[in-house]
Subunit: 353 residues, 2 copies
DNA sequence: TGTGCTATTGCAATCGATTGCAGAGCCGGG
DNA sequence: CCCGGCTCTGCAATCGATTGCAATAGCACA
């Protein structure tokens, strides 16, 4: 027990003090380095079989657990992945998150999720994650400012996007096929006989907002409808209140649309609010289609017809993409696109001329 | 530039390599320890003012960022807090989480959230968090097994509970006043004239399930109603499907209840399903009260009357409790209880005899 | 001018694990 | 019987930051 130094005392008080690799080594009469090797799958082959067994036995007899901080310091890898989320409270996000976390956990990584919305600058948050030594970043932030991307690239940090794509398409991403989703929505309405279809578009500085709007307009053209009968109102944020306001503007147009496609379920609920405020019935007077199929939109009145996106798959794909990069494998497919699916419920019906 | 050693090469390849405390020291012609002191708020007073300034200038000229792994190794504190969640996808959880994270972030801590549901043993997850060197744990797990608690106590790790209490009341906790919530619900129904009130109880091995049930029964007694007119059906999990089954059993009783109190909004939605399956109207035939006021229950048909719990406050309180422990302050109040509030919407109406 | 302080700074050990290199022991072939 | 080669293990440096102790300088006061 001569291990206590005279000058510097152990910073962690006498309490607990988990066993270290040295304790295991002492118990087995081998050098710490041998223990390290025996306990590392990659180096185990360098140690004699019986010694490995003895060490493993001693290790879990002592309840030894690897100290990640020490390992991280030495190897330069922390086993931590940062995830930047726009808003944890958004019901659409958890499935994505759990897809990411599950996949990453399986490979021994832990995830630090930070909510950008509440705190200050995204830049600063990224810096703090970098200080923590994260090995990679998953960005699900809605507003992907250029400087953040640049910052990450400067730090030579593997970064992947989820539910987003950057304008230049430089970063690998996993996202839903927004254009296809809007096509499903518009085709569905056209098939029901609708000819005047409005769109409540999301924020245009967010890729989903911009791409869904473009998809909507393209689908309208493809259906041979005139753009003048397909008014678009964009919002500043994906909120129910914003959706309500935009829908009110849409409904105030000379030729009122008989159907409204929202860029988002939250916005669609706002459309419901607007219809109620105008004394209009859904779907009787106006049909509504949402996007995302977030939880419980099947329970609202009327149950919302919406475009379901593969959120969990998106998270998993993003994790895989990141793992590829961490392993040095540059995946062939940098942009994974998930196919959406139209879920028809009660908020859309045929338009009678 | 004689800093490259002959034998062991730097593990982090030439790429990037963030500046270290030594680089800053070299640039200022001082010893690394002086830099460390100058950059630490607690030790700054030991360094001459002008030197501090010079060092700070050099630090952010170089873009120096503290290496948390190294600091953690030396000090024995990682600045990481583990949060065990029952199910991230549960819409009720995000507000709690964000309350926790915001408060902890402000103090320089980062949170690692792990979803217990998906992965294997809770025990093992805790072990992995401990290996990561978390400084403390917030447990929001629904099924708080004794061994997990014991495990944490063995590790001498500060632990707080959120939205939960342990049977023995040993661990500090922040939770809603479940009994008060049930009292609000029952009193509301009684005031509306209901005399036969059923309860869909949550899992009895979860504190919310057990305490809400007890609260329900106590309130029934307090209202002078007979227990035989207040049937209770407990479920195994907080899911919509389980709520449906339990409600069907309740509705099959000889004297059908005219109102049902669910332990949870999710269960309440299941009750809606059951009513629809039996061709009964809500609130016409049966009134329903939920619990938690999760997002969008105001949008379902009919809008759900429910007991709102202060989820964000709960998270904040838990964080404060944990910070107290981390700072060595044993807070006087170990069990913080948050007052619930009844939100009356459309799922409850007066019962006409 | 000498003594005693205090305010600063440097020194070096240390946290726990990893890993390149060196050396020991052993085997079989020539 | 010797040597090349292989397997296994030990040694020691190292990652970056912190901190108790020692040392120095500067200053005041007698």
């Amino acid at each position: 027990m001569k291990r206590t130094s005279p000058s510097t005392r152990s910073p962690r008080a006498a309490a607990s003090s988990r066993p270290t690799i040295k304790d295991v080594a002492a118990r087995c009469d081998v050098h710490p380095s041998t223990v390290s090797r025996a306990l590392s799958p990659a180096m185990k082959h360098l140690v004699a079989g019986d010694v490995v067994e003895r060490i493993q036995a001693a290790a879990n007899a002592l309840g030894y657990r690897l100290n990640m901080a020490a390992k991280g310091l030495r190897t330069g890898r922390s086993g931590l992945i940062g995830v930047l989320a726009p808003d944890i409270a958004d019901p659409g996000f958890p499935p994505v998150l759990s897809g990411i976390a599950d996949h990453l956990n399986a490979e021994g990584y832990a995830t630090i999720v930070v909510d950008v919305g509440s705190k200050g600058s995204e830049q600063d948050l990224v810096d703090r994650l970098i200080a923590r030594g994260v090995d990679g970043l998953v960005l699900a932030t809605v507003s992907l400012r250029d400087d953040v991307v640049k910052h990450c690239l400067d730090a030579a940090l593997p970064v992947v996007l989820v539910n987003r794509v950057d304008a230049a398409g430089l970063l690998p991403s996993a996202a839903s096929d927004d254009a296809a989703g809007m096509r499903l929505a518009v085709q569905h309405l056209v098939a029901l006989g609708h000819r005047r279809i409005g769109h409540v578009a999301g924020p245009q500085h967010i890729s989903t907002g911009a791409r869904r709007r473009a998809g909507f307009e393209a689908s309208i053209r493809a259906a041979g409808l005139s753009a003048s009968h397909a008014p678009v109102e964009a919002v500043e944020a994906y909120t129910r209140a914003a959706g309500r306001e935009a829908a009110l503007r849409l409904l105030a147009r000379r030729t009122r649309p008989t159907a409204i496609v929202a860029a988002n379920d939250l916005l669609a609920l706002g459309v419901y609010d607007a219809l109620a405020a105008r004394g209009l019935a859904c779907p009787g007077d106006v049909s509504v289609v949402g996007h995302n199929d977030m939880p419980f939109v099947d329970m609202v009145a009327p149950p919302l017809t919406t475009v379901r996106i593969a959120q969990r798959d998106m998270g998993e794909a993003a994790a895989r993409l990141l793992l590829d990069r961490l392993a040095g494998r540059e995946a062939a497919t940098d942009h994974i696109v998930l196919a959406p699916e139209l879920i028809i419920r009660g908020s859309t019906i045929a338009y009678e001329h």
